[in-house]
């Protein structure tokens, strides 16, 4: 099982689906951000699985994964900064209460 690419890809697919669920279903901005992190991690798992099983992709996978991790870090930084900024204004972390423009 651990030697088949399929199992890793299915695992990453499930992780991606869980992340999607979290993103769509949660109300809390930080929860949604965490779900996005899960999705990006699923992508990383996919990339590394390809890298580990497809010989020509071997080293490339690690590089791409590292760069994706860095991008995710930048994204999380900005996202949390925005969350903190909006919290100062709104005093609530729940995204569906940010509805001042629906008029």
């Amino acid at each position: 099982m651990s030697n088949s690419l399929d199992s890793y890809l299915v695992l990453s697919g499930l992780l991606f689906a869980i992340g999607t669920f979290g993103f769509l279903a949660r109300r809390n901005a930080i929860s949604m951000l965490m779900s996005i992190e899960l999705m990006i991690n699923a992508v990383n798992l996919t990339i590394l699985a390809f890298g580990a099983f497809v010989p020509p992709l071997n080293g490339h996978a690690a590089v791409i994964a590292l760069l994706v991790i860095a991008v995710a870090a930048a994204e999380a930084t900005v996202g949390l900064a925005i969350v903190v900024a909006i919290y100062r204004n709104r005093k609530t972390p729940l995204v569906d209460e940010y509805d001042s423009m629906k008029d």
Binding site: I30, E37, L67
Partner: protein, 182 residues
């Protein structure tokens, strides 16, 4: 008599057991991340899922990425997330609804996505061998600084931009000025 690749009587491979344990931890903790009511526990579950992912990376033969995963995701991103949670969450958040009203639709949609991905994966023949390959750290370094140097540098610019913007956004203003509503 060295220990074989598999458990003597059952014939299950050790790697498989490790994989199953790690994958189960990963999925369970990921589910906890998206379902727990108390958001700080979601953050802690997120750390667990990151850690099990690091284990899976190590199993895949990428210790460098595994260590980076721990360093960046657990050591930095999770801490930032916990920090932000402690700074912004109201304590009564768990007592409120954590899910949108259309959560069931979302669950259905995500289940479909998961099934589609799984089915696609199983239906595809991959250009892959059946053996995991160990990634040499030196190769990664050479690739990073030869083939991927432009994305690497762009990422550094990206991080700079993110820091500049994040510092601006999260900084507390000394004077509170009324700004207009657009």
């Amino acid at each position: 008599m060295p220990i074989g690749d598999s458990i003597p009587l059952l014939g299950i491979r050790w790697d498989d057991i490790l994989f199953v344990v790690l994958a189960a931890t990963l999925l369970v903790s990921a589910l906890l991340v998206v379902t727990l009511r108390d958001i700080i526990r979601c953050g802690l579950a997120l750390i667990v899922s990151f850690a099990s992912l690091a284990g899976i990376y190590a199993l895949l033969g990428d210790p460098l990425v595994a260590a980076t995963q721990v360093l960046v995701y657990i050591g930095a991103i999770s801490i930032l997330i916990l920090f932000a949670i402690m700074m912004t969450q109201t304590k009564d958040a768990p007592t409120r609804l954590v899910f949108q009203t259309q959560a069931w639709i979302a669950a259905g949609a995500s289940a479909v996505i998961g099934v589609v991905i799984a089915a696609t994966v199983l239906a595809t023949t991959w250009p892959a061998g059946g053996q995991r390959l160990w990634t040499a750290t030196a190769d990664v370094a050479h690739l990073l600084f030869r083939d991927y140097v432009l994305p690497f540098e762009v990422v550094s610019v990206l991080l700079t931009a993110a820091v500049v913007g994040a510092v601006y956004l999260a900084r507390r203003e000394p004077s509170r000025r009324e700004e207009d509503r657009s």
